[in-house]
């Protein structure tokens, strides 16, 4: 009896993991299969036409690229420098704890609240309007905690001997950080960058009122223009417009592109981390 029960319970656990992976795989396959029907080179390099019922998603691709790289450009230096402070300079534990609490709290803020913040500060207060710049800054704030956390982990993983060897050669702290610590931590920091890009490219709520537009002719001409973006495009195709029979297939295609993009980005980050772990000899 005890054996049978034991077996049943353990099977139930296996059932959990099978169900979970099954659901997630089904979602991915479902979107790939349906999205593949509209996929073509022209879908990727053409602009939308005829009230969003024909054409491709090129402007949304470019828009997402601009928003994500803008966000990283803003968050990367600040994030890495914060991490450098946390690991290399913060002497007392209390300061580290205070800063880390700030990072954790910021990462728990709902994405739509970042949208409100971006609207009030970047769009209105700074007068940047609904633009690539406002959207990038908003997304930059959103991914800052991720970048700090991953960079901190990477910098902390650099062995103390490296630093001591550098000090022994007469280098001061800043030179050591620049020439020894950061280059060694680079693969880890890169993981953070990639994760940040993936996150920023997939977020919708923060850009609805700070950067995104359903439709614009051609690409943005400056950083103060509105942009189309992949995630917002999916949302808008499903909720706006009057011809769902044409819009839904395009939404499938857009979802496929966004999904593959984000999965590839995350896969890349995992591979870098994995290879970095294997190559380490210290």
């Amino acid at each position: 009896m005890r054996r049978v029960l034991e077996f049943l319970w353990l099977s139930l656990i296996v059932l959990c993991i099978v169900t979970t992976l099954g659901c997630l795989l089904f979602l991915i396959v479902y979107i790939i299969v349906n999205g593949a029907e509209v996929m073509s080179i022209s879908f990727l390099i053409e602009s939308p036409r005829a009230d969003m019922t024909r054409g491709g998603i090129f402007p949304a691709l470019v828009g997402s690229f601009l928003l994500a790289s803008g966000a990283v450009l803003f968050a990367l230096p600040l994030g890495v420098l914060s991490a450098v402070y946390l690991v290399e300079y913060a002497g007392d534990r209390r300061m580290v704890r205070i800063i880390r609490t700030g990072v954790n709290t910021l990462s728990g803020v709902p994405s739509v609240v970042f949208g409100l913040f971006g609207l009030a500060v970047f769009v209105k207060l700074f007068g940047l309007g609904v633009s690539v710049l406002s959207g990038s800054l908003t997304l930059g704030v959103l991914i800052l905690p991720t970048i700090i956390r991953v960079s901190e982990e990477a910098i902390r993983a650099v062995p103390a001997d490296f630093r001591e060897a550098s000090f022994a050669l007469g280098a001061d702290r800043l030179t050591t950080i620049k020439n020894v610590v950061l280059p060694t931590a680079l693969p880890g920091i890169l993981t953070g960058v990639i994760l940040g890009i993936g996150r920023a490219a997939g977020e919708t709520a923060p850009i609805i009122f700070t950067a995104a537009t359903f439709y614009r002719r051609g690409l943005p001409r400056s950083f103060l223009d509105e942009v189309m973006a992949l995630p917002y495009h999916i949302y808008a195709l499903m909720t706006e417009g009057t011809k769902p029979e044409y819009q839904i297939p395009i939404a499938y295609g857009t979802a496929l592109v966004l999904l593959l993009l984000v999965l590839a980005i995350n896969f890349g980050a995992i591979m870098i981390r994995f290879r970095g772990r294997r190559k380490k000899r210290w």
Partner: protein, 281 residues
């Protein structure tokens, strides 16, 4: 000389997250103050009618708070048992090679954007729910809860797995040595020992769910009435902000009311993450 400047700038930069947090709070408070001058906070939170564009408008967000709460509880019901099951499988049962390949896979899945889940709910789950329950529209609280539950699975599974893996091996061995079976060891020894980590996972998970916007905006149906069942359209705080902010003129009472919702939402998620931090320590 320049070196000194860079080194002295590091601390202010590291404190930037706090500056940002305080600015978020400041922005939410200043932008929502005008509405609290018109509608007292008490009426705002407990008011049962959200008719922001009627004449005269009514700004009561109780239906939205209850909507957020209902969908979060529903989603937890889906993702908690499954996520915990996954965590137990990965840390206690899986051979190390299976574990090493499933873990990164789950990590990868946790990056799928919420708008994709929302889209999937719209094109796949909602027609299914509609047929299954014979209801006029498939966009209901239940649809949103299921999708949100699936979406939170990777996060909950991986936090819970960390907590369970952190339980020292010697405790397990002691239990097995006393003649307990594997299952008895898991339920009577390992899980209780990992309790605080698992509770942290639940709290962090619910914080994410309450704050999640796109999925609920797309599949929950969006009726701003106090929900009576999960099979009705439900509207959350997040969905209201995202859906209405674009259509309201800046500076109108409606605009300020949406910031008011943002403030309440922020306070709720903030208290959850403070709670999680407390328990973790």
């Amino acid at each position: 000389m320049r070196r000194g400047i860079i080194e002295r700038l590091l601390l202010p930069i590291a404190l930037l997250t706090w500056v940002l947090l305080f600015s978020i709070v400041a922005v939410l408070i200043t932008e929502s103050l005008p509405i609290f001058r018109k509608v007292p906070l008490f009426h705002f939170i407990l008011g049962q009618n959200w008719y922001p564009v009627d004449e005269p408008p009514e700004f009561g967000i109780l239906p939205l708070i209850l909507g957020s709460f209902l969908i979060t509880v529903g989603a937890l019901t889906v993702s908690l048992p499954l996520g915990l099951g996954c965590a137990i499988y990965l840390s206690e049962i899986a051979p190390s090679r299976v574990r090493e390949s499933i873990k990164p896979f789950i990590e990868m899945l946790s990056g799928i954007p919420s708008v994709i889940y929302g889209f999937f709910g719209l094109v796949f789950l909602s027609p299914l729910i509609q047929r299954l329950f014979q209801i006029p529209v498939g966009l209901t609280g239940l649809t949103a809860a299921i999708i949100l539950g699936i979406m939170a699975l990777p996060t909950i599974a991986s936090i819970a797995e960390d907590a369970i893996t952190a339980v020292p091996q010697s405790i397990r061995e002691a239990s097995l040595a006393l003649g307990a079976t594997k299952w008895e060891t898991i339920t009577k020894v390992v899980i209780p020992a990992a309790r605080s980590g698992i509770i942290t996972a639940i709290i962090l998970g619910s914080g994410r769910m309450i704050g999640e916007t796109m999925t609920v905006l797309m599949v929950a149906g969006g009726a701003a009435v106090i929900p009576k069942s999960l099979l009705e359209p439900v509207r959350t705080m997040t969905a209201t902000i995202a859906a209405e902010m674009g259509e309201t003129p800046m500076g109108s009472p409606h605009y300020h009311a949406l910031f008011g919702i943002g403030l309440i939402l922020f306070l709720v998620t903030l208290s959850l993450s403070v709670l999680a931090e407390r328990i973790r320590r």
